[in-house]
């Protein structure tokens, strides 16, 4: 599957806004989940499940270790495309 990185991030952002009910302008690569977006580990699991559906990828739980920013989560998903 080929997808432009910008296009992919836009999809990622839409998904995050929908699932997490956060302001779109807050979803930037450097935003941290805990402080900037105020989401907890359960929210992150739900986000990843939505991203798996959206991008048709599979993200095992072990891959989420250390994923604490939007950028890291995006790279994780984008790397599987």
């Amino acid at each position: 599957m080929s997808m432009d990185k910008e296009e992919a991030f836009s999809k990622f952002k839409d998904c995050a806004v929908k699932v997490l009910h956060v302001e779109p302008e807050k979803v930037v690569p450097e935003a941290t989940f805990a402080e900037d977006l105020e989401i907890d580990s359960l929210d992150l699991v739900e986000l990843v499940m939505a991203l798996e559906d959206e991008f048709s990828v599979s993200v095992p739980e072990s891959d989420l270790e250390g994923v604490d920013t939007v950028g890291k989560a995006f790279d994780l998903v984008y790397g599987k495309l």
Partner: protein, 403 residues
Amino acid sequence: MRLTWDSNHPDGGLRATRKVAVVGVGAVSVAGIGKEEFWEGLFKPSAAGVKRVENFDPTPWLSPKELRRYDRFNQFGVAAADLAMQDAGPLNLPSEKVGVFMGTGVGGLESLENQIILAQQRGYNRVTPFLVPLLMTNAGAASIAMRFQLRGPCETTSTACASSNHAIANAARLIATGRCDAMIAGGQEAAITPAATAGFTNMTAISSCGISRPFDKERDGFVQAEGAGVLVLEEYEHAISRGAHVYALIEGTASNEDAHHITAPLPGGKGAEACMRIALDDAGITPEQITHINAHGTSTPLNDLSESQAIYSLFGDSCPPVTSVKGTLGHALGSAGALEAIAVALTFEHELIPVTANTKHIESEMKLDLVVDEPRKFETGYVISNSFGFGGHNSCIVFGPAR
């Protein structure tokens, strides 16, 4: 309220000197949201059929983010607790001395059913990480504690339709015995789901015509309802010192068990009768001092018969006026007792007993003074409110006037 049941004690046991006041009420029910709407709703005709709280909008109380992890029963509870806390006014108490006791029959059943369907369609790895907090019965009490930052005892009681009476009774005792100075207590239920409806229907507990008519000879089952009722209870002297409005006092409570059948009451209403007797003893009063009975009165053939027998065994031919607000409200299961406790608090306030709606012809063998057709003036005295649950759980609360 008793502290001990020691029959060797000169007075038959020690009694609490601390009194328990009802200082705030919050209702979310088919009859209305908030105490004014709820009270007015008790005097309006009620449409036949399942009683959902159709106009409930949780957004004044919960953010979109919270809504994703709060099942409907939990949303009801938070809303009712918030209404009750506003009604009570600022408690000005240390958070460790205030607790939350809530009752619910099944908790987040709707979320569970939806997630099972989703899992079967798309696999169990698609089940939301919020499923457990959505469905667990204690999420209700926990959410209220989090909202108001209350760090006293926080527990959930699940005794089917007796749940909220038990929760209120246990909360009242924590105040009487001094562990807490105030409690948020009540019940919450949102179980009008396809599976629950099928279960109740197949056991023939539900009215086939969708009409709740407690104690009527044509009653044919209960009508499913949902909602939440929350009371704020407070130690009386503290309530008075801060100028709180006191609706009534909780004077006595009782809990016992039929140990007979998983759904049918003990023949002759013997378990319910014993429970009412214990509640009167706990309050230190005699049956003659009861001026009103807020009955469980579900409109099922078995409950209403056995409850009427229990009442007759205790009060004989001098039965005080009895009402069942389930004619109007339907049966909100684990929240029913709390909604009825609010009806009792407002009966003290307005000195008026609402009618048992829809009941036209009382079963001839039931020797009750049932309030039908027209509301009745409430003669100030003590009120007993009954709740009985599948499983044989009985719970009675005696309320008295504020003084």
